[in-house]
Symmetry: C2
Subunit: 337 residues, 2 copies
DNA sequence: ACTTGGCACTCGGAAGTATGGAGTGCCAGT
DNA sequence: ACTGGCACTCCATACTTCCGAGTGCCAAGT
């Protein structure tokens, strides 16, 4: 259906259009990329490509621009991920190595990615449900209040206040704390409900009410925070590309956590690097954008996703390279801390 | 110099221009606001106002628009803060009451403020240096690693990893933890260095090295985090107003922590509500924006600032009302948790 | 069966040219 | 001190013209 030259033409169109942002015509094509044929031949090829929906012309008698379908073909079959330069790799490394807690890692990552790609970067915090308990702490903060602090292996810290409706002795608290930690140490957060099921039986009768209160808050925390945290950076880069009227829509979409979540997509569908182009996006306001996303995690355990959002007209090979590289480094950093 | 009518004219110009976004002429002015005089008179007044720099015309033979100086006069002498409607107050209250930790309070606040004013909201996290220690926790996370967790009275949690370069017994840790807490409980963060000065002397000789490591990390935390955390929301609202070319500059400025800090200004200069208009802003990219900011805190203790950024052409009375109201409610929420 | 040069055609964008109207400044009169 | 009147300015808008990049198609060549 599409012989090699036609594919080559499509690639050339994508590359030219991405770099110039202007519809590309047969003549300029044949001049810049030295295909060994004349512009008339290219025109015929273009007619075919257009008929099949890979390219389109904004107006009669203008050059062609790739359609979403065209970009898709380009990404799937005509391009390879472009590795970062060693300078860039070093920059990533040194920049991320300076981070000293989870918040900091995430903040730095999202900025780094935005700067590297000159687009909008999106990073999801390591999923709570996929991580495990490193430590549980109970801290009395007032006569009838405890603070429950939950520290995960990814460095995430969750805290909740517990009303005890009665005095609780230091001793009881210490006891409960010890119990909780032996029960939960290293336990995956998904297994917590299971792991604490028989805990009430192990505490002294006097402490049952307070234990119950603590447990209910603990479980609640896990449920509530299922809503994952997610951040973005680099909105200024959007202003650079001309988004016609829809810039507003895009910005609005970015500020909705839910949309952002959907944007990165489900984790772990086959390959680590997923690309969603234009109308493939689930979300209304983002029909003119593309998303390149990847899983990140430590070892073989996927923790969350991160990615980049830009105009459909983006440099896919480079962007994919940057996303992949950053995802890997973040995994390493998290593993090391 | 400026009689009452001229002031009235200025007010009318500001109000009209803010609502229509078009230069206002003498005729439309005299029609909409019933000043009891003719348009020719108004023209004379306008000429004076222009001469004094309160208004300007974009082109010869167009209407007038207020200058920064004009807005300044308007804010200082011609307007009063407009209280929120009771519906809005209720909305604030219910929305903020749902928050369950500091992160959540700040996130909700910034969104709320953005939505309320339809502009960009900026909220600074409660200052570390102004808050006090509620609890210090030491958690062993590996054989040679401790996690230091610092919880402040505002609910902020700081965590740092400590390398111990040697085994440390549970007992030593417990001892050190107890010491730290007795030393520091309720201690203002500014006083921490002072409060822990003689702590090394109180620990057993064997534990000196580890105590030193902990202290150095603790002090480091206080210093490093002097760089305060700050967030914004509502960037989409910027796209609505026409910022000509500078939208990009504004977005860029917003993504720089340092700029954001400067933006809100120093805390506690005289009144709680400060307004900075156009060129009064210290920052390059923000010369076409205005900032309305306020302190917030619990009781009489100021914790940090929050505010709103928008075009100089903004509805100052309403914006000021919203900022003031939100600042108060946040204070209340923080006090109650 | 492809490829190529040629040619007529299309149409968007740039540049130039009216034209109308909102707004001004000024002046003489009340 | 205010007002009505008047001449003047100049921005927006709309309308035209015009150029050229780009196309589709065809007939001829390989």
């Amino acid at each position: 259906m599409l012989d090699d030259r036609k594919l080559e033409v499509l690639r050339a169109i994508v590359e030219d259009y991405v770099s110039t942002n202007e519809p590309v015509g047969s003549k300029t094509l044949v001049e810049s990329h030295n295909l060994g044929v004349s512009s008339a031949t290219i025109r015929n090829d273009m007619a075919v490509l257009e008929e099949q929906g890979y390219i389109a012309q904004p107006h009669t008698s203008a050059g062609r621009i790739p359609t979403d379908k065209g970009y898709r073909l380009f990404v799937d079959r005509l391009s390879t991920v472009k590795p970062l330069s060693s300078a860039e790799r070093r920059a990533i490394e040194t920049f991320l190595n300076g981070a000293y807690d989870l918040d900091d890692v995430v903040t730095r990552t999202v900025r780094l990615l935005a700067q590297l790609t000159r687009q909008v970067a999106v990073v999801q915090y390591p999923s709570l449900t996929r991580s495990s308990v490193r430590h549980v702490e109970l801290v009395p903060v007032a006569s009838r209040r405890l603070l429950l602090v939950l520290i995960t292996n990814t460095g995430r810290v969750e805290q909740r206040v517990i009303e005890t409706y009665g005095e609780v002795s230091e001793e009881s608290i210490g006891h409960l704390r010890a119990l909780l930690n032996t029960c939960l140490d290293g336990c995956g957060l998904g297994e917590v409900p299971h792991a604490v099921a028989d805990l009430p039986e192990k505490v002294a009768a006097d402490d049952r009410p307070i234990a119950a209160a603590v447990l209910s808050v603990l479980l609640e925390t896990l449920v509530d925070r299922h809503e994952e945290k997610i951040v973005f950076a680099g909105a200024a880069n959007l202003a650079a590309v001309d988004f016609s009227k829809s810039l507003r829509d895009v910005l609005e979409a970015l500020e909705e956590q839910v949309v952002l979540m959907r944007l990165l997509g489900e984790t772990g569908d086959s390959s680590t690097l997923t690309v969603r182009i234009g109308t493939e996006n689930p979300d209304e306001g983002l029909r003119s954008t593309s998303v390149v996303a990847a899983d990140y995690g430590v070892g073989d355990q996927t923790l969350a996703r991160l990615g980049v959002l830009g105009p459909t007209r983006m440099d896919y090979p480079s962007t994919m390279g940057a996303v992949r590289a950053v995802a890997r480094y973040v995994g390493q950093i998290l593993a090391g801390s």
